[in-house]
């Protein structure tokens, strides 16, 4: 009985893997990182995104091929500044960081040992991500069992998280700090905190990314039989202070982000349910020729995209590579004007219907009745004031 259950689960997993591979085509899945995983929470209701991300499809290339390239790229000035700042915080065994943790956050860190878990090898090098992850796991779980009060800093641990049934290695530029038996994730960002205030959008993006690490670290400890609560939901955010290069630190509660992330990951873990809604033959394979140029027509790929339901909202523009395609597709939908606009229009989906109801040219259905009355009054009042 038991053997049968295991086999059937196994069969389902491989079947799912095959299905996802077919969706993706014969290319390696796009590698996730904390930023892309954090972005998954941007529009949790969107099936299109969940399916493409689960399969590891390169959305950027697809978008470009169907004629709606994403505006992307980061300024090299920003990248350079970020690297300089991070290196500075971590210099001399993270001396600067330790001073901050003691002074600003009052963490009792009498003495600290510093472990750089980075290996000269790239994650795909001879060591491989599995080996590096194993080493991180060994050190981190080893530390979790220790009761001594001395602090431990782990630089570059390689963590792992399951996304849609696939292990994803996270190579964070973060430090996990253990103090008094509890782990804190330290996230280093290069946006400025001026007079104790920072751009809320940037802080919230940093919080979501840090939450990805918290989740991965908790998963690692759980698998080794430890209490996941050993990883604090308070992360340490380190940013440049005021207009200087000197760092400042703050504790950030990421419980809310953890919740959102867990929900989205479990939705993707049930990806087979979502796949039941899409055609069996569907594929986003670009089928590149020997020179790497896609051989499938843009129209074919656009049709493939259209076969999976999307839920476009203006927020997609800053969160998903397919935004311009989906926006174009959503033209004429009230949701494309913003969630609040759609709500104010009584939840009616199409602009055309809204205007017809407002003009009294269309008989409302029963559930549209209330919205229609409001829209008719609104149209009358607008016309009256503008006449």
């Amino acid at each position: 009985m038991l053997a049968w259950r295991i086999r059937s689960k196994w069969a389902r997993v491989t079947e799912l893997e095959q299905r996802l591979a077919r969706l993706r085509g014969p290319v390696p899945p796009r590698r996730h990182n904390a930023r892309t995983i954090a972005a998954l929470t941007g529009n949790p209701g969107c099936t299109r995104r969940a399916v493409l991300d689960s399969a590891g499809v390169d959305k950027q290339r697809i978008a470009a091929h169907v004629g709606f390239p994403a505006q992307s790229g980061q300024s090299r000035f920003a990248i350079a500044r970020g690297n300089v700042f991070e290196a500075q915080v971590k210099a001399d065994g993270a001396a600067e960081l330790l001073r901050l943790l003691r002074e600003r956050l009052g963490l009792p860190i009498p003495e600290v040992s510093y472990d750089d878990l980075d290996t000269p090898d790239a994650p795909d090098g001879p060591d491989g991500p599995e080996a590096r992850h194993a080493r991180s796991r060994e050190l981190l779980t080893g530390a979790a069992g220790r009761a001594d009060a001395a602090g431990l800093l782990f630089d570059h641990p390689l963590l792992r998280l399951d996304v849609a049934g696939q292990p994803v290695y996270l190579e964070p530029d973060l430090i996990a700090l253990q103090v008094e038996g509890r782990f804190h994730v330290v996230e280093i960002k290069s946006f400025a905190v001026i007079d104790d205030q920072a751009d809320p959008a940037k802080v919230s993006a940093a919080a979501t990314q840090a939450a990805v690490y918290v989740l991965a670290l908790r998963q690692l400890l759980t698998e080794a039989g430890h209490d996941p609560e050993l990883v604090s939901h308070n992360v340490v955010l380190v940013c440049p202070r005021d207009f200087s290069n000197r760092p400042t630190a703050a504790l950030l509660d990421v419980r809310k982000q953890l919740g959102t992330l867990r929900r989205q990951l479990s939705r993707m873990a049930r990806i087979d349910a979502l796949l039941d809604q899409v055609p069996e033959a569907l594929s986003f394979d670009l089928a590149p020729d020997t020179a790497g140029a896609p051989t499938r027509t843009p129209a074919e790929l656009a049709a493939a995209l259209a076969a999976v339901e999307a839920r476009y909202a203006p927020e997609c523009l800053s969160a998903c590579e397919l935004a311009y395609f989906c926006r174009h597709e959503a033209a004429g939908a009230t949701a494309a004007l913003g969630k609040s606009v759609r709500e104010e229009l009584g939840g009616i989906e199409s602009v055309e219907v809204v205007l017809a109801l407002a003009a009294g040219d269309r008989t409302p259905t029963e559930e549209q009745a209330e919205a229609a009355a409001l829209l008719r009054t609104a149209a009358r009042l607008r016309a009256e004031a503008l006449s």
């Binding site: 007079d195 440049p240 207009f243 290069n245 913003g338 104010e344 205007l355 009042l381 004031a385």
Partner: protein
């Protein structure tokens, strides 16, 4: 977002052009606004890269920082900006008017004009605030001396940025905010933050629909972003090599001048399109007639300007603190809330289209006076008082209950108390009986015109324009210990003056 504005967005999308959501201009537009388009260096903390500034659309002044990480060059930029802004501010202090106070027993003086700084978007306002913060504590002596104009610039920029948080103020405006206050586009509020796209909807080129114009405006190669953040493609492909060329040429005078000129050319190319959009926006706003209550709000701006100009000149004056003390912060919040309420009421009073939004939500109704008893006297009290009653017939939804106090833009000083609300005999409309008080003089016969007559179209609303007294707060020196105790005066320290800017 109200249903009325949401409907306007839907209409804009269907017609391909932005739709008006105001019939009058709700902000003051100066005769000579100072337009300021700043750019920053990506990744740095509000480090200036370049700007176009000026009050003359034909002759903007271009300021650039050839090595944006160089501290001295940043302060040179600040001094150059000060050389534009400070004379502009000073030029508005020529003429003052006498304003009676204390029931006419005294007068005070206020300038007849005030500065108006226009930036492209909300991020431009943040730039102004942070640039003010990074310059106002600097010293003209000591370790890192700056030009005397730099800290003064910082204080004025901080004044403008603080004022910009005051609802209804017009001294520092983001063009995107100014335009979206008057037009609804067929795109989302988020996309409206792009000035080029927004203007694509409001005034598309002839024969082009708003959707097409807005889509084109999103291509950074055609329309560089309105800043302060630059386009990453521009940074990587053009700016970085040009800065590198400048750095490589430092020892060679001729090559350096060439490299400088090239940087100027590149940065002007990024700024000029936005500069032109700014003046297109100014022209569109200027074409709208100002609302009746815009001038009194501008007078409040002029009061604030006069006060601050006098303070800056006084002996005991300090730059604004990094953060407000507890009492000052609470007072400020209270002030902003009251300003918000009266600004909302004033806009509705000034503009039937804004009032229409309140009619839709049941905060106002408009109708026709069907009955009036202008000389009705209430003699149940100690002394008889004039309490006319009128009946208004309206097709608007009426959500007010008997006892509610209403006001009419036509007679702002008169209160109408709801007596009855009854469905009209035809079923579709509503009859409202109101009892009027105030605004009719002291005798028992109302002066002509002070009571609405039968047949008059009239609007009543719960929004009141009446002065709202502020909440009372402990004096600064009595700040309770729970709120940090009395704050000390913020005298800038050596540390403030020399803080890093890297």
């Amino acid at each position: 977002m109200s249903t009325l504005t949401a409907l306007a967005r839907a209409q804009a999308l269907a017609t391909g052009a932005a739709q008006p959501i105001a019939t009058v201009r709700h902000l003051h537009l100066a005769d000579r606004p100072l337009v300021f388009v700043p750019l920053t260096m990506a990744g740095e903390a509000n480090a200036p890269l370049a700007a176009l500034v000026g009050a003359d659309p034909e002759h903007p002044r271009l300021l650039i920082v050839p090595q944006p990480r160089n501290r001295d060059q940043r302060f040179a930029f600040a001094a150059a900006l000060a050389a534009e802004l400070l004379p502009y501010v000073d030029g508005l202090r020529g003429v003052a008017e006498a304003v009676p106070i204390d029931r006419g027993r005294d007068v005070r003086h206020r300038y007849v004009d005030a500065p108006q700084l226009l930036v492209p978007n909300a991020a431009g306002i943040s730039f102004v605030r942070l640039f003010g913060r990074s310059t106002r504590f600097r010293r003209t002596d000591g370790d890192y001396p700056v030009h005397p104009s730099v800290p003064l610039l910082g204080r004025w920029l901080t004044f403008l940025a603080d004022r910009a948080e005051h609802p209804g103020s017009s001294t520092l405006l983001a063009m995107t905010d100014a335009l979206t206050l008057h037009w609804a586009t067929g795109q989302s509020a988020m996309e409206d933050q792009n000035l080029a796209a927004l203007l694509g909807w409001i005034s598309p080129p002839p024969g082009v629909s708003g959707v097409v114009a807005a889509a084109e405006a999103e291509d950074p190669a055609i329309w560089p972003p309105a800043g302060p953040v630059t386009d990453p493609g521009f940074d990587n492909e053009r700016l970085a090599p040009a800065i590198a060329a400048y750095e490589a040429a430092l020892d060679d005078e001729g090559a350096r001048l060439l490299a400088y000129a090239e940087l100027e050319r590149l940065l002007r190319g990024q700024l000029q399109p936005t500069w032109e959009l700014m003046w297109r926006g100014v022209a569109l706003l200027r074409a709208l007639p100002p609302g009746a209550r815009v001038e009194p709000r501008w007078a409040a701006d002029r009061d604030a300007f006069t006060d601050y100009a006098n303070y800056v000149e006084s002996e005991e004056s300090y730059p604004q603190p990094r953060r407000d003390g507890a009492v000052a912060a609470a007072q400020r919040l209270d002030r902003l809330e009251r300003a918000q309420a009266s600004y909302a009421a004033q806009r509705a009073y000034d503009d039937p289209l804004v009032m229409a939004g309140h009619r839709l939500t049941g905060e106002a109704f408009a109708g026709v006076v069907t009955m009036a008893k202008p000389d009705r006297v209430d003699d149940t009290g100690k002394r008889p008082v004039l309490r006319p009653r009128i009946m208004v017939l309206t097709s608007d939804p009426v959500l007010m209950a008997p006892g509610a106090a209403l006001y009419s833009p036509a007679r702002p000083s008169q209160k109408g108390t709801v007596v009855f609300v009854t469905p009209a005999p035809d079923g579709a409309k509503t009859e409202v009986v109101l009892e009027l008080s105030g605004g009719m003089g002291r005798s028992l016969t109302p002066p002509p015109g002070s009571v609405p007559e039968v047949g008059e179209r009239i609007t009543y609303t719960t929004l009141s324009e009446a002065y709202r007294p502020g909440a009372s707060f402990p004096a600064r020196e009595e700040t309770p210990w729970t709120h940090g105790g009395p704050p000390t005066d913020h005298v800038p320290t050596e540390r403030d003056a020399t803080e890093d800017w890297s």
